[in-house]
Structures are given as structure tokens and as C-alpha cells.
């Protein structure tokens, strides 16, 4: 709409600003909370303006440790989360690319059986099959390590389906031209299919990274060793301080830090991500 009506412009801006404020307010509160000391955070009313403790709290999070016995370093938890999120995102993308490639481009016996087997797993997210999955992971000796944290979450069908759809939109002639040019199946995959789907891969990476980063239930089950805790778990546990009041200033600081990697991923991949969701030209 290209109209020049000051009132309408004013009004729509007001709505937009209000929307931004609603979304941003909790983040602001988190930031404010992270910049006060423990005592101020137990007094009512809660502060709305930042205090002067931000860097002290930051040091507490990284150096002194958080949690009940102050033994947990936010740095280690973030590192664990980062590894978990990366393994889930990258693992899922690799596996689904390959399985979608097989399903779309190869005619092998029982192809449709495999297709439906993958399809069925759509209806069985980790939360539903949590007990048998735990059993399997435990028997494989994967408790308390990165494999146990990630492998069960990697196996899922959503990404396979997405890539199947993407590959189906790639014109057959591209494959045929590549065949005449002399490309074998894996060459075609590497030289043509991957670059052509690169925006979709980026979009999926963003989604899966955040999905992996935010995992809570599964890491809670699979890790008992504190050195394997993830950040989301860590925050939850800090809230459950047994005797004392929760240390809100540190919780807020940790939360703030936990938001940073997903935000960085989104910002870094924004251009590709949006292209991946909107682009249709192949």
C-alpha cells in the first residue's frame, strides 16, 4: 500500500512498536535481572532498569560457577549444548539428504516399504518412544556422552520428507543433462543436487539447530554426569534450588547467555534462510 495518510502511518507504527515491545519486554527483564545482585532480585517490586552487577554476574557464570553448589560452569554447559545442537542439525541433514536422495532417485527393491517405514517414524517423536529409546541407548553404553545425547534425536523423518519434496521439484532434465555430461549418481548429488538445495539446507539447519539447542527432556534423562549437562537443563535445575531461594540474577544471566547462539545462527543464516523458505526457482 502506497498511501500518504499521516494518521494511518502513525497508527500502524504505534501497532508495530507495541508488538515489538510485547516481544522484547521479557528479554529486557532478563537483561535487567542479570545486572542486579541476588538481594535486589528478591525485593518487590522487581527492577525495571539495569543495575551495575552485570559483569560481576557474567564472571560468576563463567568462572565461579552457578547452581546449588556453585560447581556448574555456564561455559561447559553452553559447549555441551552447542555440540548437541550441531550434531543434531548436521547429523539430521546428512542422513535425511542421503535417504531422500535414495528414495527419489533410485529404484531399489522394497523402496516403498522403506519409504513408509520412514514415514511411520513421523508419528513417533522421542517423547512417545522415550522408554524403549532410553533402554536401547543405555544398552549401547551411550549414557552420558554426546552420541547418546544426539543419535536418538537425529533419527527422524521430517527432514527426509522436506528434502524429498525439494528433490521432487528439481527438474528431471537436470539429472539427464548431468548423466549425458558424464556424472555418476554421487557426482550428481554433490555437484548438482546439493548446491541446488543449498538454501533449503540452510533453512533446515537454522530450524534444527534451535530444535537441538532447546532439547530438554531427553538430555535430562540421558545425562547424570554434571559435565554433560546442557544449558537448558542447567537453567531448569537452577530454578529448583532445594532450600534457598533461587538465585535469580544468575538464572537470568544464564538465560541471557543461552539465547546468544541461536540468535547468532539465525542472524548469520538469515539471508539464506529466507531464500530457502520463499525461493521457488530451481
Amino acid at each position: 500500500m502506497i498511501e500518504n495518510r499521516p494518521l494511518a502511518t502513525w497508527f500502524s507504527h504505534a501497532i508495530l512498536i507495541l508488538g515489538v515491545a510485547v516481544v522484547a519486554f521479557p528479554i529486557w527483564i532478563t537483561f535487567v535481572g542479570a545486572s542486579h545482585d541476588a538481594i535486589r532480585m528478591t525485593q518487590v517490586p522487581l527492577p525495571l532498569l539495569p543495575g551495575d552487577q552485570f559483569f560481576i554476574n557474567l564472571k560468576a557464570a563463567f568462572v565461579d560457577g552457578v547452581g546449588n553448589a556453585k560447581e556448574q560452569s555456564v561455559g561447559i554447559m553452553m559447549f555441551n549444548s552447542l555440540i548437541m545442537a550441531m550434531m543434531i542439525a548436521v547429523g539430521k541433514i546428512i542422513i535425511s539428504l542421503l535417504s531422500a536422495f535414495a528414495i527419489v532417485y533410485f529404484r531399489f527393491p522394497l523402496r516403498m516399504v522403506f519409504f513408509w517405514m520412514i514415514f511411520v517414524t513421523l508419528m513417533l517423536p522421542v517423547e512417545v518412544r522415550i522408554l524403549p529409546t532410553f533402554e536401547v541407548v543405555a544398552n549401547l553404553g551411550m549414557l552420558n556422552n554426546y552420541w547418546g545425547l544426539t543419535v536418538p534425536l537425529i533419527a527422524s523423518a521430517t527432514a527426509t520428507f522436506m528434502f524429498r519434496q525439494v528433490f521432487l521439484t528439481v527438474p528431471d532434465e537436470l539429472l539427464e543433462a548431468a548423466r549425458i555430461d558424464g556424472a555418476g549418481p554421487m557426482r550428481f548429488f554433490k555437484d548438482i543436487l546439493l548446491p541446488v538445495s543449498r538454501t533449503n539446507i540452510a533453512a533446515l539447519f537454522v530450524i534444527l539447530f534451535i530444535y537441538g539447542w532447546n532439547q530438554y527432556l531427553w538430555p535430562l534423562l540421558i545425562t547424570t554426569d554434571k559435565s554433560m549437562y546442557t544449558i537448558v537443563m542447567g537453567i531448569k535445575q537452577m530454578l529448583e534450588a532445594a532450600e534457598e531461594a533461587p538465585e535469580w540474577h544468575l538464572i537470568m544471566m544464564t538465560t541471557l547467555l543461552a539465547m546468544i547462539p541461536p540468535v547468532l545462527v539465525v542472524i548469520g543464516m538469515q539471508k539464506l534462510f529466507i531464500k530457502g523458505l520463499t525461493e521457488t526457482e530451481k
Binding site: E173, E176, I180, D181, G182, A183, R187, I192, E281, K282
Partner: protein
Amino acid sequence: MARVLIENITKSYGETEVLHGINTDIQEGEFIVIVGPSGCGKSTLLRMIAGLEEISSGTISIDDRVVNNLEPKDRDIAMVFQNYALYPHMTVFKNMAYGLQLRKFSRKDIKKRVDQAAKLLQLEELLDRKPRQLSGGQRQRVAMGRCIVREPKVFLFDEPLSNLDAKLRVQMRLELRKLHRRLKVTSIYVTHDQVEAMTLGDRLVVINAGYAEQIGTPLDLYEKPATLFVAGFLGSPAMNFIKAQISADGKQARLSDSVQIPLHTGSADCGGKEVTLGIRPEHFSLTEQGHSTLPLTVDHAEFHGADTIIYGRLPGNDELLTARLPHIHHISQDKVLHLTAAPEHIHLFDPASGKRI
């Protein structure tokens, strides 16, 4: 350059056979056009030559080597697709170089060949662009370039001009012709456009519903169409077909009680038969009323600048006939024109089999 021999090729998808035994012998350096209406199986035939489609029976050989079971890349062919199928993420240079890279050509050779092809096709300025930054005609040329750099034995084209606008199509047609004269690579070209076929082909293969109706030079096909189908398919406006009975001595064709026209003297052995006469619109000429003229009641006329197309009916016949007369004629509706056609331009077909008599 190579000879391509197609023997008894059939193709079935499941139970349905879509090609029923095609035979063609394509000579070295020849430009062959496979032409036919949509769905007749032209692309299927071409794709079998390329190795993209399995051959149900029969053999295809390129230079005396049976290629039935060879992968496309081992057949030494190159193909231009209807939608060009350029690799969207590669530059023009890379698009052309890709096939050479896979064949392990040295960097220097690749550069040399691509530059040469680019020069030939006037793509030098565009080598760093991506396909999406090119116009339709430029994309078409890149697709050609991708074939040329490989220096294959056979070029295959599947309706490469059908995505271009009319003017560009005429221009590219000319360039294709020039290119072929220069490179002299055996080319097989599929199209449904009869004008394209007539102007490009050294010889045409006319396919209808999976059968090769006739194979020959454009002139052959125009002057001596072997079947009703070929007669009606080639030429624009299309040939007129009129039911008639041949007189006992074979010298006259009776169109109705009042209309008789003389025939060429070669048609004696079909005396007394029911036939279909075929007369091309451009072979009619205006004349004075006479014994053996066709009285055409004008329905309407179209002016095409250099000539006028007249649509009208013969007495006792409801079908519209077309006549193409040179110059501009202002003719009002329902006027009766008297037309003749030289006997040697009158084709006779057996109405049952559709074959030429």
C-alpha cells in the same frame, strides 16, 4: 560425425506400445528432423538414442557400434533440452566446462574449447553470468555451447526453440542451420513444428502415433506425401482433402454430379475407385468458368499481405476448402469463384488405408 542406424525400435510403457518399429538410417553429418504431432513418440525416440530411456526391442547403433546397453555418457552424444536444463548454480563457463571436467580434460584444454564455443555462439561477454541472468535466447545458446565443447559424434535436440518467441525462433533456426553447416555434426532434431522441420532438415522422419509414416527430404515429402497424414501435416495452410470418384478410364475425378476435374495420366489403374483427392491451397488458381473448374462459394477471406487465403465450399459439400491466391483479392461472401489445379498437383489417396495411389 557419425552414422546412426535405428533398426526396428519399439518402446512400451507397461502394456502400451508407444513406438512400433521405427527404422532410419542417418548418414554422417546429416541433419535429420523427427516431426509429428504432440504425443506421437518423438521425444521417446530421441531419448532412446540418448540412452535416457530403455529400448524395448530393436537396436540403435552409432558408427556400427550397438549402443543399446551403453550409458548416455559412453555414447558420445550431446543433447539440448527443451527447457535447456542448465545447471542453475553454475556460471555459463562452468555449465559448458562441466562435461569436460568430468572427462578429465586439462584446465587448459577446457578453457580453449569453452572460449572457442563461446566465440562461435557470441557468448564471450556472458561467461561469468548465471543462467538466471540470461535471456531465453542466450540460455538456448549456452545449452548449445555445452554440447559443442564436447565435440560429440551426434547432437540431439528436443524442441530446443519452442520456449522462444516467434521472432527469436526464426533467428535461432537460421543460426542452427549455419552452425550445422560449419560443424557438420550428425544432428537429430525433434519438433512438432512443421515449418521448423521443413527449413532445418536435410531429411524428415514424420511420426504419427508411433509409426514412421514417411522418411525423406522436405521436398519429397511436400511433393509426394506417402500418406494422408503426411499430406495433411506438412504445409500451411493444410492440404485440402476432397472425396471423389475416378472415372472408368482414370482420366477424370468426379467430385459431384456437376463437378469433374481432369487428372494426371498416371492414374489409370484406379479407374472407378472411390478416392480422396489432395490439393494444396497454393496450387489453386483463379480462372474463367469452364467445364473442369471448381466453383467455390466463398465463406470468408483472410489477407496475409502477399497473398489471400480464401475459405469456401463446393456445391453439395459442407467442408471448408482453402485456397491461397497471390496478391490481394477483395472478395465478398457468397460470391462464386472458379478455381483450377494443375493435374500434376492433384494427389490421390486410398481413403481406407490413407496410402498414396
